[in-house]
Amino acid sequence: MIDNFLLRALLGGLGIALVAGPFGSFVVWRRLAYFGDTLAHSALLGVALGFILHINLTLGIIVICQLLAILLFLSQRQRQLASDTMLGIFAHGALSLGLVALAFMKDVRIDLVAYLFGDILAISNSDLGWIFAAGGIALAGLLWLWKPLLAITIHEDLARVEGIPVDRINWMFLGLIALIVAVMMKVVGMLLVTALLIIPAATARRFAGNPEIMAVLASLIGCLAVCAGLYGSFQWDTPTGPTIVVAACLIFIVGLLVPRKGALLFSKGR
């Protein structure tokens, strides 16, 4: 087992960043940032569920995220409310419900800040196990869904006409996102999960000429942000989750300054 808490933090962070790259790319391509955010906001409800059922808290969060993903998927079919309105209701409803539920449990005291902004330095060996198990499943699943997901991202009806089971694949994809959001919580916290999904992917965009390169680059950029964030947080005694996100933002800005000529496999244009 790994004793050094810094090494555990590094491994957990890198594991998360690797998974966040390709998922974050899809989140950006399909404009699902709000969706990821909403799932993350339900985490406290998952913690409450974990306490009530006496199960592992990460498992509780995973269960709640999955339930919410199903609810969101179903709610997309109604046309009464715009989807960002729906997501807003779910996100803040779930967050508030989680806080209220925890307040009812008199003998439960949780470190709220750790849940909001992450507590990567407190990652245990079992947390690492969750991260790598969930991350492994999610990556394998995404690889399996990759081609049909690209087709759906390009045009949903076109994919449907050509016989791709669009609803089933969307459903599975949302389930996988819910899974990784639940474990990412531990590293950057519920309020910053989306940042780790979308910032590395957005940074990678300028240097990628095809979807696969963008996904891999996003993973690498995420890893760089985790390393820089951990180092910075150790150096200046700043909260780790936010420091990682600040590092990601700095890399994004530096990326904007790099001229596009140096792009890897960037399409030639005309």
């Binding site: 009806d157 963008m214 960037f266």
Partner: protein, 250 residues
């Protein structure tokens, strides 16, 4: 007489309190071009979606010949600018990376020069041609085109309609398309179906132009244009100057 490739019989569609389609019939035979025209909100795209199986009708039936392959050309792609996709890859995803075939298809639609371009940088006309190539990838029996000339200037529209006829002639596939435009499309179509929730009139371009229901729907000015048009079908260049790309309204 062989069976129609695709037949929509007595379709009605009600969503909420709105009657979108009322007892619509449509039949498409091999080698035939059928164009659905009608004003905005007439249900043209909806009818196409029903024929494609994307929208379940409230009543009525859609019958397809067995093993029918459909090539669908959507109105447009809503690609996020962050999605890195070249034309080559766009087509490769549909045909297992057969690059020789991709080039052949792009040449067929006159878009070989954009093969390495990012999809988001294409002009209106190039985009439509690439989408057409994409629809041809699966060697379809029926091409279903949703407003294939949208976002293209008049000259380009004439060219695109000619291209569609040529593809029909060379491949012998059927074409079912929706058009907003009254005049240009008539050169390229065998059958016209004039839709306004229900079918107002249908038949050859000539017979539709002379139908009182057509005049009622589109107004006398359109009929006059059409009359000029039907008699003058072979003079595309004259047509371009007389027609002001007036689309259907009022």
């Amino acid at each position: 007489m062989s069976q129609p490739l695709l037949e929509v019989s007595n379709i009605s569609l009600v969503i909420g309190k709105n009657l979108l389609l009322e007892k619509v019939n449509l039949k498409i035979n091999r080698g035939e071009i059928l164009t659905i025209i009608g004003p905005n909100g007439a249900g043209k795209t909806t009818l196409l979606r029903v024929a494609l199986g994307l929208q379940k009708p409230t009543s009525g039936a859609v019958k397809r010949q067995q093993d029918l392959t459909i090539g669908y050309m959507p109105q447009r792609l809503h690609l996020d600018p962050t999605f890195p996709l070249t034309v080559k890859r766009f087509l490769a995803l549909a045909c297992n990376n057969d690059f020789a075939r991709i080039l052949a298809l792009l040449s067929e639609v006159g878009a070989a020069h954009v093969v390495e371009s990012a999809v988001q940088t294409l002009s209106g006309g190039e985009m439509q041609r690439v989408l057409l190539a994409r629809a041809l990838v699966r060697e379809p029996d029926v091409l279903v085109l949703d407003e294939p000339v949208q976002g293209v200037d008049v000259h380009g529209q004439v060219e695109l309609y000619q291209l569609i006829s040529r593809i029909r002639d060379q491949r012998g596939c059927a074409v079912l398309m929706v058009s907003h435009d009254l005049h240009l499309v008539m050169a390229a179509t065998d059958q016209v179906l004039c839709l306004n929730q229900h079918i107002c009139c249908s038949g050859t371009p000539e017979s539709v132009a002379n139908d009182p229901a057509f005049a009622e729907l589109f107004g006398p000015a359109a009929v006059q244009h059409m009359a000029v048009y039907v008699h003058d079908q072979n003079h595309h260049h004259d047509l371009c100057t007389t027609c002001d790309r007036s689309t259907v309204n009022d």
